[in-house]
């Protein structure tokens, strides 16, 4: 099956896709975009979170064919060239990254939260990020990062 989709602003076309492949697999193994991570394959960890038509989804649960003709944005598409997005910047600065395997998904989820809710309360942050498991940080510095990014966005 042929998959044509717009990823990070670029038209991508890949052939010979097996119908059972997920969008995650196609991004990682066929489109050279391994930034989204495969950690649970069942929507329980959020590491594969990408935007599909502007909404954050677990790409491991999107059948490749469902993405045909859609707009996909991955973690690779968030920075402005060399300039990190404020959410990315805050994750680095706050020490919200250890092993980093959960980071791409968390960055996308936090990016979405701040786009919808510019100054989220702590409970709002927690509820919005509850679908993204992190095993290294205990989440404290992730909260710090989201708060910092929100603050900077408010100042900008």
């Amino acid at each position: 099956m042929r998959i044509t989709t717009r990823v990070n602003g670029t038209e991508q076309e890949v052939d010979d896709v097996w119908a059972g492949e997920s969008l995650l697999y196609v991004l990682r193994e066929r489109m050279g975009l391994p930034g989204s991570k495969n950690a649970c394959e069942q929507g329980e960890c959020g590491s594969c979170t990408v935007y599909l038509d502007g909404e954050p989804v677990c790409s491991c649960l999107v059948a490749a064919g469902q993405a045909i003709g859609r707009e996909v944005t991955t973690v690779e598409g968030l920075a402005d060239g060399e300039r990190l997005h404020p959410v990315q910047e805050a994750f680095v600065e706050c020490g919200a990254v250890q092993c980093g395997f959960c980071t791409p998904g968390l960055v996308v989820a936090a990016h979405d939260l701040l786009a919808r809710v510019p100054s989220p309360s702590d409970p709002e942050i927690r509820e919005a990020l509850a679908g993204n498991l992190c095993r290294c940080t205990g989440y404290e510095k992730i909260l710090d990062a989201v708060r910092l990014a929100a603050e900077r966005q408010a100042q900008a």
Binding site: M1, W18, A19, G20, S22, E41, Q42, G43, E44, G46, T49, E55, P56, V57, C58, C60, L61, V62, A63, A64, G65, Q66, I68, A109, R126, E127, A128, A130, G131, N132
Partner: protein
């Protein structure tokens, strides 16, 4: 494996009829897990994501017609007033990412006893609208839709079109047990709806029987007691003993098993507690509204 992608409801029904080996997929939150874990290799996936009709909802004569493909996030955002029980349950489904993709139609199609949408649908007296190319649409009350563990009343050539849910005439509640504070599959779940307009009580039990089910005896008992004591009219305080007896009857309606998520005994116990608390909250809301 083929990937079939109809763009209209009629086309979807035609394909469904032609390809009994196809598995319908909407949000993918169940189907893709089975594929990723190599539990299922259907002949085809029938993607319902391009069928615009399925993603719409509307209200007619006090009944919400919820397209099978409306995701949980939209139910939380758009329908919390009309369908408070379902909205509360929708908020507990998986994670934000899952709620953006997952649909009530998918929950019904999978018919897992743990599906979060089932208890509020049962409590509200919802009806499932299914259709086939050959015979057109038919309506199945939710309580008759679930026929066994992960089995439902769909014929091989049918698809789920919508769920018809009466707009809430009174308070509704939903509670769910999980062993952590987010992203859990229900160990047990309970929904209740007060229908002061017809002086009735609705219930739904999840994860505590082979299928989601109502606690009919508990419903009749409570409605009767409220009637007998004049509480429907007086809107007086709900006696604790009554709430407790209701909880016990709800638990009695369940037939849970021991599994890795919880013991049968705990499921029964938690149901009785949730039912007691939920009905008290609902009743208090009713009193406040009065």
């Amino acid at each position: 494996m083929d990937f079939l992608q109809p763009s209209s409801w009629q086309e979807a029904l035609d394909i469904r009829a032609e390809r009994p080996d196809a598995v319908p997929i909407a949000g993918g939150t169940d189907v893709m897990v089975d594929i990723n874990f190599d539990r299922r290799r259907p002949g085809a996936l029938l993607d319902l994501g391009r069928v615009a009709e399925l993603r719409e909802w509307g209200t007619e004569a006090g009944v919400v017609r919820l397209g099978a493909g409306v995701p949980y996030t939209r139910i939380v955002e758009d329908l919390a007033d009309r369908l408070p029980g379902l909205a509360m349950a929708s908020r507990t489904v998986g994670s934000p990412q899952i709620r953006i993709r997952g649909t009530v139609g998918g929950n019904l199609g999978s018919a897992s006893p743990a599906g979060d949408a089932h208890p509020p649908l049962l409590a509200a007296g919802a009806v499932v609208e299914v259709a086939s190319a050959a015979r057109g649409a038919r309506q199945i009350p939710a309580a008759e839709f679930y026929t066994g563990v992960k089995r439902n009343a769909l014929e091989a050539d049918e698809l789920i079109a919508a769920v018809l849910i009466p707009s809430a005439a009174g308070p509704q509640q939903f509670c769910k047990i999980g062993t952590r504070n987010a992203m859990v599959i229900a160990v047990s779940a309970f929904a209740c709806a007060l229908h002061p307009d017809r002086r009735a009580v609705g219930t739904g039990i999840g994860s505590a029987a082979p299928t989601p089910r109502r606690a009919v005896d508990a419903e009749d008992f409570l409605a009767g007691e409220l009637e007998g004591s004049g509480l429907w009219e007086s809107r007086g305080e709900l006696p604790e003993t009554l709430a407790r007896a209701f909880g016990e009857r709800v638990a009695a309606a369940a037939s849970p098993i021991d599994d890795v998520r919880g013991s049968a005994a705990y499921r029964l116990h938690s149901l009785s507690v949730m039912a007691r608390r939920a009905v008290t909250w609902a009743w208090n809301d009713l009193r406040k509204a009065a």
